[in-house]
């Protein structure tokens, strides 16, 4: 039974449609990441669920209870805001205690509750500080602690790592899954960082221009993106895309050469499509032999992977990502031959951008 259910929810501010026909279910204890570029209505969606905004149409139910006209204080949700929204006139302890006090618990229970989450988030030493005395990271943890304090059944996290520095973001990305599992809440987590989405999510809902274009597991989103847009949003470096025409034998014309990747592409013979290949699926070989000829323009080592910028004879550029441990990493200016691992290739409709087919290994 789904814990949270959104049924064709739409939201418009006057004539400006922010969300259109949003449907989503989340099971109890599931972590669903709402992922999308900025300005697509992710925050508005969380506000609708929290009850601080009302949807223009559609219904929201939590625990099988319709939430229309249910005030935010009666929804049993916890929310962490992107801008932290700490109460400036209360110290960290009182900030975290506020949801406990509102549930009229005794002083002893409030103390227990606060120190439990404070220890969990490693801020027990700054509880007496006012928000303005806290570092950004401590503010972020305090906001998170406040959302977690009352062990709400539904936790709404609005890009909580957006305003913290890169080092802390990395630490928290490792720590958050454990914290969220421990909270045992259903979690809706908003982010525009695809790595965060991949690291945390049971499922990812990709929100673009007010609509969900794909809701699936992180693996599925990466392997079977529903549209060119999704393919482009997930992956670093981004997927290589090129417009091409499929030959009668299923071969793809790239940079003036025909490349056969997957026989099944024959089904789209004669069609002009957008061809996509993940940088990891670009195989780079030294010397002569089979494959597309290309020149290495730049080599960028990024820890465990090394990214190559390649240019074909016809001038088309593409990126390849190799394990840094690979023995055959070419140098800049080298001539190489490239081939494609079919499993990392995709065909998209040129007009609509929807996925047509994916190569098989």
């Amino acid at each position: 039974m789904p814990h949270l259910e959104l049924a064709s929810v739409s939201k418009a501010f006057k004539t400006n449609k922010v969300l259109e026909d949003i449907s989503l279910t989340a099971d109890a204890g599931e972590i669903v990441v709402i992922f999308g570029p900025s300005g697509t209505g992710k925050t508005v969606l969380l506000r609708l669920i929290a009850g601080v905004e009302e949807p223009t149409s559609g219904s929201i139910s939590i625990d099988n209870q319709d939430m229309v006209d249910v005030a935010p204080e009666h929804r049993d949700v916890g929310m962490a805001f992107q801008n932290f929204a700490l109460f400036p006139h209360m110290n960290a302890f009182e900030n975290i205690a506020s949801p406990l006090r509102a549930r009229s618990q005794g002083e002893a229970q409030v103390n227990d509750g606060v120190s439990r989450v404070a220890r969990l988030l490693k801020i027990d030493h700054v509880l007496s500080h006012a928000p303005r005395q806290l570092s950004n990271g401590q503010k972020q943890r305090t906001a998170l602690a406040r959302a977690l304090a009352s062990s709400p059944k539904l936790l709404l996290l609005d890009d909580p790592l957006r305003n913290v520095d890169a080092k802390l973001r990395f630490e928290m990305r490792l720590e958050l899954p454990r914290l969220l599992r421990e909270a045992k809440s259903t979690v809706l987590y908003v982010t525009q960082d695809y790595k965060e989405a991949m690291a945390l999510a049971d499922r990812i809902a990709v929100l673009v221009e007010g609509r969900f274009i794909q809701v699936a597991t992180p693996q599925d989103i990466y392997r079977n993106p529903a549209t060119v847009g999704v393919a482009r949003l997930f992956g670093d470096p981004a997927i290589n895309l090129a417009e091409t025409t499929i030959g009668a034998d299923g071969a793809i014309e790239l940079a003036g050469e025909k490349v056969t990747i997957d026989k099944s592409y024959r089904a789209f013979a004669g069609k002009t499509v957008t061809f996509g290949v993940r940088p990891e699926a670009v195989e780079v070989m030294n010397g002569r032999g089979a494959g597309l000829k290309a020149q290495v323009m730049a080599v960028t080592p990024l820890n465990e992977r090394t990214v190559l910028l390649l240019q074909t004879k016809a001038g088309a550029e593409l990126l390849a990502s190799l394990p840094s441990s690979s023995p055959s990493i070419p140098k800049a200016e080298n001539e190489v031959r490239i081939a494609f691992n079919p499993a990392g290739t995709h065909l998209f409709d040129r007009e609509t951008g929807t996925a047509l087919a994916r190569g098989r290994a």
Binding site: R47, V52, A71, P72, E73, A85, H89, S98, A102
Partner: protein
């Protein structure tokens, strides 16, 4: 850090001194006058050398004024008390009405909201006499003439717009997310207003209240027309010093000293708060 030369410092000091003399000399002179008799005040040329007398103050406090034309009863202490009562109650009522209204105007967009807010402000544009003539007729019919209730009601014309517009800016400066967070934590709208919005807007509320108090205290025309001697504040009460045997400058000066003392003390005490409060709302964010 400090790049100012001696000349600059000298000029700055001189200019500040000039401004201080301009604003403080009248107060200084009034204080001197309050310790003199009419004869020494009207002496030509004036001198700051005189024999101080407490007669002005004692006349005000005992309420007995001796003039060459005979003895006169003064209601000055009563007037002072009226001022305290009228100003305090007016500001209190304005806060009770104005702070929630300011919150409503800041947070909710409702039909005619902007128009209503502006109408309230426009009370301060109209010349008071224009309002007063019809009002005095109504007050007679309603039996509100010469009552504290009636005066406090009219004083809302002074206090309410001030409080409404200053405090509204403060509420607008509070991030709505802070209030949302408190509600999601499980608190009702009313608790959020009391525990979050009002405490965060407190500097603005205090500054607006103080300013409204001073404006109410200094008001003259409303009480002059709508109340008689026993309900009038000091500003109107001072007219009693224009007597048949001449103008009692010494008593006027003493009365002024006594009547500006409370607001002056209040303003000095809350000075930092006031300046910070009034500028913060405008500059911040």
């Amino acid at each position: 850090m400090d790049h100012t030369s001696n000349l600059e410092r000298f000029i700055r000091g001189g200019l500040i001194g000039l401004v201080l003399i301009f604003f403080l000399f009248p107060i200084f002179w009034i204080v001197l006058m309050s310790f003199q008799t009419n004869e020494t005040i009207l002496r030509i040329p004036p001198s700051i050398v005189f024999e101080p007398t407490m007669s002005n103050y004692s006349a005000l406090i005992t309420g007995k004024l001796k003039t060459t034309a005979g003895n006169l009863d003064l209601a000055f202490m009563k007037n002072l008390w009226n001022s305290v009562l009228l100003s305090t109650l007016s500001v209190a009522l304005s806060l009770v009405l104005g702070v929630p209204a300011a919150y409503a105007f800041a947070r909710f967009r409702f039909r005619l909201g902007e128009d209503i807010a502006f109408t309230l402000l426009s009370f301060r544009f109209a010349p008071p006499l224009l309002v007063l003539l019809p009002l005095s007729l109504y007050f007679k019919q309603l039996g509100l003439t010469n009552t504290y209730v009636g005066l406090i009601w009219v004083y809302q014309l002074i206090c309410l717009p001030l409080i409404l517009w200053i405090v509204r800016g403060y509420f607008e400066d509070i991030s709505p997310d802070i209030e949302h967070a408190y509600r999601i934590a499980g608190n009702s709208w009313w608790q959020t207003f009391r525990k979050i919005a009002v405490p965060l807007a407190m500097p603005g509320i205090a500054a607006a209240g103080l300013l409204a108090f001073i404006f109410a205290w200094n008001n003259f025309i409303f009480a002059l027309i709508l109340a008689s001697a026993d309900k009038q504040p000091v500003t109107v009460g001072a007219l009693a010093f224009v007597t048949a045997s001449g103008i009692q400058y010494g008593q006027i000066a003493a009365a002024i000293v006594l009547s500006i003392a409370p607001t002056l003390a209040l303003a000095l005490y809350a000075q930092r708060y006031l300046v910070e409060g009034l500028s913060l709302g405008a500059v911040k964010g």
